[in-house]
């Protein structure tokens, strides 16, 4: 009997599968964190998860709400300061995979997490860059995960927060960047990967029950579709079990009532 699952669960599981065991992964909060921990608790037990707040080798048993929950530092191999994190570990080229979310993405996997609309008079002010511009440029490879819609997959970004493949082709290399840049964009509908030459995002895998047309319709530019398209493997019972367990622990930790002030003797 096949288990039911949601589109978000499929997205997280498909993203987790992209992480190989032993990778050193710089993890963004939210969807990337769920996927990275699912990978660690399933096929990639030796993955090293780094959170920008300082924990290196975090092994949380519940999903953190923030990027710096106590659960992360208490389970880490080391906790470093912010200047050390960004200079020695990220700029120091020790990160294999940068794992990011985004509000908007374009066909060359450049992303926006800053504003919708004009910068000086924004329709929606988003949180901003955080660590993303440098994660995107200095990780050896970048994975991006976000929900698929015409609002998020746009012809032109309102603001480029972090560069992916810039203008396509060899533009990363011409900017002096050595990493591969984004190698996959995992959504709730399918998986897009950059064309080896042009670097334009191309639909290469559709999740079970999703049609190619549905994905084309949810993309704000004329989406290229690979000649031989795969169907993403369904989530296994193990993957779903581990993921739901992570979310359940997280939900429990977020519904506690306000604690009384601590008392000291």
């Amino acid at each position: 009997m096949l288990e039911e699952y949601t589109a978000d669960e499929m997205m997280t599981i498909a993203a987790a599968r992209k992480l190989h065991n032993g990778a050193v992964c710089f993890v963004g909060i939210g969807l990337p964190s769920a996927a990275a921990n699912l990978a660690r608790l399933s096929h990639a037990p030796d993955i090293v998860l780094i959170y920008e707040s300082g924990p290196i080798g975090a092994k949380p048993s519940v999903l953190p709400l923030s990027i710096g929950d106590g659960e992360l530092s208490e389970t880490a191999d080391a906790v470093v300061s912010i200047p050390e994190m960004f200079s020695y570990w990220l700029q120091g080229a020790r990160i294999d995979v940068g794992f990011l979310g985004a509000a908007q993405i374009d066909r060359f996997a450049n992303i926006n997490s800053t504003v919708i609309g004009d910068y000086d008079r924004p329709a929606t002010r988003l949180p901003g860059a955080g660590g993303a511009p440098e994660i995107a440029t200095f990780s050896k490879e970048v994975l991006i995960t976000l929900r698929h819609s015409k609002r998020s997959f746009v012809e032109k970004l309102d603001f480029t927060t972090s560069g992916g493949h810039f203008h396509g082709g060899d533009s990363r290399r011409r900017m002096g960047l050595s990493g591969k840049g984004p190698t996959a964009v995992i959504t709730d509908l399918g998986i897009l990967t950059p064309d080896p030459e042009t670097k334009e995002l191309t639909l290469t895998s559709v999740h079970p029950g999703v049609s190619i047309q549905q994905i084309v319709d949810a993309t704000g530019w004329p989406l290229k579709v690979a000649p031989e398209i795969e169907t993403t493997a369904r989530p296994t019972a193990t993957e779903l079990g581990v993921l739901r367990n992570l979310h359940a622990g997280s939900a429990r930790s977020q519904t506690t009532t306000i604690q009384p002030s601590p008392k000291y003797s």
Binding site: G68, S81, A123, P127, G131, E134, G163, T256, S261, P262
Partner: protein, 287 residues
């Protein structure tokens, strides 16, 4: 050399934080100086330039309460929850007053604080490549490395008038010990003309292991005892992050009126952080 003064938080803010000051209340998710932020709101400071890598709820409150003139930052959100609604209202609608922005990436802010602590004019990094940030922030510059010819980014050093941080412990002399996610607090404290540190407890002996993060008393202007002063963020070894409150803040802050009611009742209507906590507990018990 002069040792840190052991002051009440009220006294420290009154003495060291003036209208128009450039102020950093640092804390990266952990050890956020909420009590100090509230005291600034209570004392009605105006025209502040607020600096912080990750402005979260306490900056949302300072902005909504009308204390801020400018924000220097790299990520402004309610972590894991969504928007900072008071920050957004100030940027999108100029309420309660327009908020000037100087926006960076985390790597840029970290370099700028480290430069401030090191008494350098600017921080240097490989960074800001392919992002639009330099188009909107003229204080991000690029220059050629004199040794390799590589194009590098420069950001001006951050030198706050006052940095406020929260730490786990101080001793009677005012030496400060902190651990866990320590963020950029050491650099922010050393970059400032004066540093105020609120602490969970003041002990006779710090008993800090070698290489622990200790700020010597003479590098700190004032130490203030504020039990639970980082709530609703956390103090490792003392209390956990109140994730439920971070989620509740989304509804409290979404509308101007609900925000104003909350801040008037729980912050402006209380005399200190202990009363604020009691006020919240009473409201929760009546809910």
């Amino acid at each position: 050399m002069s040792l840190a003064a052991i002051l009440s938080l009220h006294e420290a803010i009154q003495e060291f934080v003036s209208d128009g000051a450039t102020l950093a209340l640092e804390g990266f998710t952990h050890l956020i100086p909420f009590a100090a932020g509230h005291e600034i709101i209570r004392q009605g400071r105006r025209g502040l330039t607020l600096i912080r890598m990750t402005p979260d709820l306490i900056y949302d409150q300072l902005i909504g309460a009308g204390c801020a003139h400018k924000l220097v930052f790299s990520w402004g959100g309610n972590p894991g929850v969504g928007s900072l609604h008071r920050f957004r209202d100030a940027v999108e609608n100029g309420w309660p007053r327009p908020l000037e922005l100087e926006e960076h990436s985390h790597a840029g802010m970290a370099a700028a604080y480290a430069a401030g602590a090191a008494n350098l004019p600017f921080g240097v990094l490989r960074g800001y490549l392919g992002t639009d940030l330099p188009k909107y922030n003229p204080r991000i510059k690029f220059f050629e490395c004199p040794f390799t010819g590589e194009r590098l980014a420069a950001v001006p050093a951050i030198r706050p008038d006052v940095t406020v941080i929260h730490a786990q412990r101080a001793d009677q002399r005012g030496n400060v010990l902190m651990w866990g996610v320590v963020g950029v607090q050491k650099e922010a404290a050393l970059a400032a003309r004066r540093a105020i540190v609120t602490v969970e407890e003041i002990v006779d002996q710090l008993n800090a292991p070698a290489n622990a993060l200790v700020l010597p008393s003479w590098a700190v202007a004032a130490v203030c005892l504020v039990n639970g002063g980082a709530f609703p963020s956390y103090a490792q070894g003392y209390y956990a992050r109140d994730n439920a409150f971070y989620k509740q803040w989304d509804a409290i802050s979404r509308e101007r009126r609900s925000f104003q009611t909350w801040i008037e009742r729980h912050v402006l209507g209380t005399k200190d952080f202990a009363e604020f906590r009691k006020s919240l507990e009473a409201a929760a018990a009546n809910a």
